[in-house]
C-alpha cells in the first residue's frame, strides 16, 4: 500500500481541494447551459455570502445547522456506522426542543429554557437513532436502510403531530404557536450590536455548535469511549478481542450521533423560527453526510466544510435574487456535485496525484 501513501497535507488538503474544484467546474458548466455567466454567478454568490453583515450572518446561521448534522454523521462514521437518518433525528430533536419551549417559555427566562431545550433535543434525537442502532447491533438489520426508513416515519409522525395536535386552535397552517421570549434564543444581532448582522437569524446556537465541536474532538480522540468507538470502526474483530462490546458501542455511538443531530433544532426552532414547523430540517441531515466526508470526520474539517456549505446556501439565495434564472436549486446541484466528488469519487484523483508526488519526491531524492 505504500504506493498510495501521500503526505498528510496532500491527503487532507490537496485532494479535497481538487475534488471541490471538479464539483465547481461542473457546476460552472451547468450555469453555462442555463445561459448565464458562471463568473458573474460566483461573484454574486460570494458577495451574497460574505459581502455584507447580513450575508455573513446568514452564512453562519446555515453553517451552524451543518456543523450539528456533520458531527452526527462523523461520529457514526468513526464507529463504522453510516447514519443517513440525520434528517429524521433533526426533526425529532426539534420536537423535543419545541416541547420544552412550549412548556417553559411563559414561566422562565430563555437561559433557563436553553439548557432544558438542549437536553430535550438531544434526548429526542438520540431516541430516534436508538432504534436503528439497537436493531443493527442486536438484530443485524442494516443501519443505512433502517435510518432511511426512520426519516420517512419521522416525517409522517411530525406531519400528524403538527397538523392534529400541536396546531393552535383556529389556525390552518400546520405549525405550533410561536414561543414567547422565554423560548427564544438571543440573536447575535441583538447581542453584538457593534457588528451589523442585518436581519440575519444567526443566534447563540452558533457558539453551542463550536462548543460541541470541542466536545466531540475530546470524545473521539481523548476518551476511553472514543478509543472504543474508533477501534470498533477500524477493526470490529480486534475490538471484540479487546473486550469491547459491539452492541454497547453501536448503541452508544448512535445515541451520541442522534443527539448531535437533534441539537440542530436549537438553531432553527429556538433560534430562528421560534416555533415548530413542517420540514424545518430542509435536507440538512443529508448535507451532514457531505460535510462529514469533506471534513474527514474531524471537527476542524467539519467547521470548514460547514462554512463552505453555509456560504453556498446564503450566497445561492442572493444569486437567485440577482440572476433569477439561476434559482436556489443551483445550490442543491452544487451540493450534489460536492457529495459526488468529495464522497463517492474521493479516490478519483488519488492515482494521478500519487504519481505526481512520487515522481516529485524521487527526483528530489536523487538531487
Amino acid at each position: 500500500m505504500s504506493k498510495g501513501q501521500l503526505p498528510r497535507w496532500v491527503d487532507y488538503g490537496v485532494l479535497p481541494a481538487l475534488n471541490l474544484l471538479a464539483a465547481f467546474i461542473i457546476s460552472g458548466l451547468v450555469v453555462i447551459v442555463i445561459g448565464e455567466d458562471p463568473f458573474e454567478a460566483v461573484k454574486w454568490l460570494v458577495w451574497g455570502a460574505l459581502g455584507y453583515g447580513e450575508g455573513i450572518g446568514y452564512t453562519l446561521y446555515y453553517a451552524t445547522n451543518f456543523i450539528f448534522t456533520g458531527l452526527a454523521v462523523a461520529v457514526a462514521f468513526h464507529a463504522g456506522l453510516f447514519n443517513i437518518g440525520g434528517e429524521g433525528q433533526v426533526y425529532l430533536g426539534g420536537l423535543g426542543i419545541g416541547l420544552v419551549c412550549l412548556a417553559l417559555d411563559r414561566y422562565v427566562p430563555w437561559w433557563v429554557t436553553f439548557p432544558c431545550a438542549i437536553i430535550g433535543g438531544a434526548l429526542f434525537g438520540a431516541a430516534w437513532a436508538f432504534i436503528p442502532g439497537y436493531l443493527q447491533a442486536k438484530r443485524g438489520s442494516h443501519i443505512v436502510i433502517t435510518t432511511i426508513m426512520f426519516n420517512f416515519i419521522a416525517s409522517a409522525l411530525m406531519v400528524y403531530l403538527l397538523s392534529n395536535i400541536l396546531i393552535p386552535q383556529g389556525t390552518m397552517s400546520p405549525s405550533s404557536r410561536t414561543f414567547e421570549a422565554g423560548g427564544q434564543l438571543p440573536l447575535l444581532r441583538n447581542v453584538f450590536t457593534s457588528f451589523d448582522f442585518g436581519q440575519s437569524p444567526v443566534n447563540l446556537a452558533f457558539f453551542l455548535a463550536l462548543a460541541v465541536c470541542g466536545v466531540v474532538w475530546l470524545l473521539i480522540w481523548h476518551t476511553k469511549l472514543g478509543y472504543e468507538i474508533r477501534s470498533f470502526g477500524a477493526n470490529p474483530d480486534a475490538s471484540a478481542y479487546a473486550g469491547i462490546s459491539p452492541v454497547r458501542v453501536t448503541v452508544i455511538t448512535m445515541l451520541i450521533s442522534g443527539a448531535l443531530a437533534g441539537l440542530m433544532g436549537i438553531n432553527v426552532v429556538m433560534g430562528e423560527q421560534t416555533r415548530l414547523l413542517l420540514d424545518f430540517a430542509g435536507g440538512a441531515g443529508f448535507v451532514g453526510v457531505a460535510v462529514a466526508l469533506m471534513g474527514r470526520g474531524h471537527p476542524i474539517g467539519i467547521i470548514l466544510a460547514s462554512m463552505l456549505f453555509g456560504l453556498l446556501y446564503q450566497g445561492g439565495a442572493e444569486l437567485a435574487f440577482e440572476i433569477p434564472t439561476i434559482s436556489r436549486d443551483m445550490i442543491v446541484v452544487i451540493q450534489a456535485l460536492v457529495i459526488l466528488f468529495a464522497g463517492a469519487l474521493e479516490h478519483m484523483f488519488r492515482p494521478a496525484v500519487a504519481a505526481f508526488f512520487n515522481r516529485f519526491s524521487s527526483s528530489t531524492a536523487e538531487a
Binding site: S2, K224, S239, S245
Partner: protein, 559 residues
C-alpha cells in the same frame, strides 16, 4: 477455446479414448526426441506442461517473485513448497492470469504465451482451486460448475448437457456429488470437489491447487490425494501448492521449493527427504534450539473442563475438551489448522460464548456457557496473543502507542476519569519499544507500517508486560522473520521461568515440540492424545491425523 474443449468433453467415451491414446502417442514421441537431445529435465514426465523462465513480480517495494524458473512435466503431480509468504500464491496467481508478471516468459505446452486474465488461463486449459473457494454459496453445484461456461444464452440449453457431463466427470474421477445440492450447505471437502469439477468441466489439463488441505480433515485430505492421483493417471498435470511437507512426500512426483520469493530448488520427490526439504524451505536447520531450563512446576493456573464450542454456522468445533496448565508449564496444542484450535482460544479468551464448559482461572471458577468478554478475562489475569494479529491483535489504522493498550485501555494507569492519559501511554510504549527492540522506535507511527516481526513484538509486549498469570498464545511466529522467531520463543520461555502458565497453539510441529512441556493434539474438535516433548514427529503426525495408536486397540476412532 475453452468452450470448444468443453464441447468435445461432451462427446462420450469413444471420442475420449481416441483422444487420450493419440495424445499419449504424441507424448511418447516427444519424449524420445527430448531424450535424444539430452535435455530431459524430469524423468517420469515428458514435455513440460508449464515452463516459467525468469518470472518476476513486485508489489510496490515488495518483490514477491524474483526471477523464477520452473518446469512442470506433463502428467505429473508437482509440488511447490515454501513457508507462508514465500511467494507461492503470487506465482500461481500469475499463472492463472490474476496478476501480470513484471518480466519473464511463460510457456504452456512448449509454446510461449501470455495469460492476461483468468478467461485466457481457462482457455489455455489451466484450472485453479483457490485456497478460499471461489464458489457462490447460494447456487447449486450445477450452477456453480457452469458459471462462465453456460453453453448458451438460456440456461436450459446448457443445463441438461452439463448435468450428464458432470456425472461423467464425477464418475471418472471418483467424486460423488449431488448436482442439485446448494453449495453453502455442503461440507468443505465437497465444496473443494465442486471446485475441481468446475475446472475439469472447463476442460482443464493443468490443475493448480493452492493450499488445498488447509481446511480439510486428514481423511478429506486423503480423499483429495486419491482424486489427484486419478487425475494424474488420466494425463492431467497437477500443481500442488502447500507449506506442508507431509503432503509433498505423500502425493507429489516432483517438488520445487520457494523461499522469500525465489525458487531455490527442484527435486524428484523420491530422491529427497522431509528434513532436506525443510532445510531448503527455511534456509536454516529446522531443529530450533531453544534454551529450556528446568522449572519447578506449581499448581494449576488454568483448568478447563468439558468445553464444547460451536462456530457461527452452528457446527460443533470443540468437543468435550478438558485440560490443565500449571504454573511454570507450557502446554502445547498441536493439530492441523481448523481442528478446533481457533474456536478453543476464542472461547477461553472470552471472545465467543461456549455451548458448555467450566474454566478455573487462577483459582476463580467460571461457567463458559455464560456471557463473558475478553476484558473480564484480562482482569482475571489471562492475556492472549491471538493467532491472527492483523484481524484481531492490532488495529492497523492506529498508532503503535494506541495499539499498546488495546484491551487494557480501561486500566486506571492509562486514564484519568473518562479521559485517556496519552502521555502515560506514550511513555510506557517507549519503554516497551526499547525493551522489546521494536523497530523503528516510533510510538506515533501507524502500526500497519511495521514489519510482521515487529508487529508481533508489539502484541507480545502488550500481552506479556501486563504480567498475566496465564498466557494464551496462538501461532506466535506466523509470518515472522527468523530473528524475531528466536526472540519470541525466548520470551515464551521467560514466562515459563517466571512461573506463568502458557497455553501454546501452533500448527508448526517443531515449535510445539521445542517449547512445550506437555503436548495435546486436537483432531476434529477432540483431544485425541497427550504426549511429552520427546514424542516423535511421526507419532504426533499420526495423532494429528486422528489415529491414536495407544488407544487403537480399545476402540475405533473416526478416520
Amino acid at each position: 477455446m475453452g468452450s470448444v474443449r468443453c464441447f468435445s468433453w461432451g462427446r462420450g467415451n469413444a471420442f475420449e479414448t481416441v483422444y487420450f491414446e493419440s495424445r499419449h502417442a504424441i507424448d511418447t514421441q516427444v519424449n524420445d526426441l527430448i531424450d535424444q537431445k539430452g535435455r530431459a529435465t524430469v524423468a517420469e514426465s515428458n514435455v513440460p506442461a508449464i515452463e516459467l523462465i525468469g518470472v518476476s513480480k513486485s508489489f510496490g517495494p515488495v518483490q514477491a517473485n524474483k526471477d523464477i524458473d520452473l518446469v512442470v512435466g506433463k502428467g505429473s503431480i508437482h509440488g511447490i513448497i515454501g513457508e507462508n509468504g514465500a511467494g507461492k500464491s503470487t506465482l500461481m496467481s500469475i499463472l492463472y492470469g490474476f496478476y501480470h508478471a513484471d518480466s519473464g516468459t511463460i510457456k504452456i505446452d512448449d509454446k510461449t504465451t501470455t495469460i492476461p486474465d483468468s478467461k485466457s488461463a481457462i482457455a489455455q486449459g489451466i484450472g485453479m482451486v483457490h485456497q478460499h473457494f471461489m464458489l457462490v454459496d447460494t447456487f447449486t453445484v450445477l450452477e456453480n460448475v457452469i458459471l462462465g461456461a453456460e453453453g448458451g444464452a438460456l440456461l436450459k440449453d446448457g443445463v441438461a448437457n452439463a448435468r450428464s457431463e458432470l456425472k461423467r466427470l464425477a464418475d471418472e474421477y471418483d467424486m460423488t456429488i449431488d448436482p442439485d445440492a446448494v453449495v453453502g450447505d455442503l461440507p468443505v471437502g465437497s465444496q473443494q470437489r465442486v471446485e475441481i469439477l468446475k475446472a475439469l468441466y472447463r476442460g482443464a489439463d493443468i490443475l493448480i491447487l493452492d493450499e488445498p488441505t488447509g481446511v480439510l480433515t486428514p481423511s478429506e485430505a486423503d480423499h483429495l490425494f486419491r482424486i489427484l492421483r486419478v487425475l494424474r493417471d488420466q494425463g492431467k498435470t497437477v500443481l500442488l501448492i502447500t507449506h506442508k511437507l507431509r503432503e509433498i512426500m505423500n502425493v507429489t512426483d516432483m517438488v520445487s521449493v520457494m523461499r522469500r520469493g525465489e525458487m531455490v530448488a527442484s527435486r524428484k520427490t523420491a530422491e529427497t527427504s522431509m528434513e532436506g526439504l525443510a532445510e531448503l524451505m527455511v534456509g536454516r536447520s529446522v531443529l530450533l534450539e531453544v534454551d529450556k531450563p528446568e522449572v519447578e512446576v506449581g499448581k494449576p493456573l488454568l483448568k478447563v473442563e468439558g468445553l464444547n464450542v460451536k462456530d457461527d454456522r452452528g457446527v460443533l468445533r470443540v468437543k468435550d475438551v478438558s485440560f490443565k496448565v500449571r504454573a511454570g508449564e507450557v502446554l502445547g496444542i498441536a493439530g492441523v489448522s481448523g481442528n478446533g484450535q481457533s474456536e478453543l482460544l476464542a472461547a477461553l479468551s472470552g471472545i465467543t460464548r461456549a455451548e458448555s464448559g467450566k474454566m478455573e482461572l487462577s483459582g476463580e471458577k467460571l461457567d463458559l456457557s455464560k456471557a463473558h468478554d475478553a476484558a473480564e478475562m484480562r482482569t482475571m489475569g489471562m492475556s492472549h496473543v491471538p493467532e491472527d494479529r492483523h484481524r484481531m491483535g492490532l488495529v492497523n489504522k492506529f498508532t503503535e502507542y494506541e495499539n499498546s493498550i488495546l484491551g487494557y485501555h480501561r486500566e486506571p494507569k492509562y486514564s484519568k476519569g473518562m479521559f485517556l492519559s496519552k502521555d502515560a501511554i506514550r511513555k510506557e510504549a517507549k519503554e516497551r519499544i526499547e525493551k522489546y527492540d521494536i523497530r523503528p522506535p516510533t510510538p506515533d507511527m501507524t502500526v500497519a507500517k511495521f514489519s510482521g516481526g515487529n508487529q508481533q513484538k508489539i502484541v507480545l509486549a502488550r500481552e506479556i508486560e501486563c504480567d498475566p498469570d496465564v498466557l494464551l498464545i496462538g501461532q506466535p511466529t506466523r509470518g515472522v522473520d527468523i530473528g524475531a522467531i528466536e526472540y519470541i520463543h525466548n520470551r515464551i520461555m521467560d514466562m515459563r521461568a517466571q512461573g506463568k502458565a502458557v497455553l501454546l497453539v501452533s500448527v508448526e510441529l517443531e515449535e510445539i515440540r521445542s517449547l512445550s512441556d506437555r503436548i495435546i493434539v486436537m483432531f476434529d474438535g477432540n483431544v485425541v492424545g497427550e504426549r511429552g516433548p520427546e514424542a516423535t514427529e511421526q507419532d504426533l503426525g499420526l495423532l494429528m491425523a486422528g489415529v491414536n495408536q495407544e488407544a487403537e486397540n480399545d476402540h475405533e476412532l473416526p478416520v
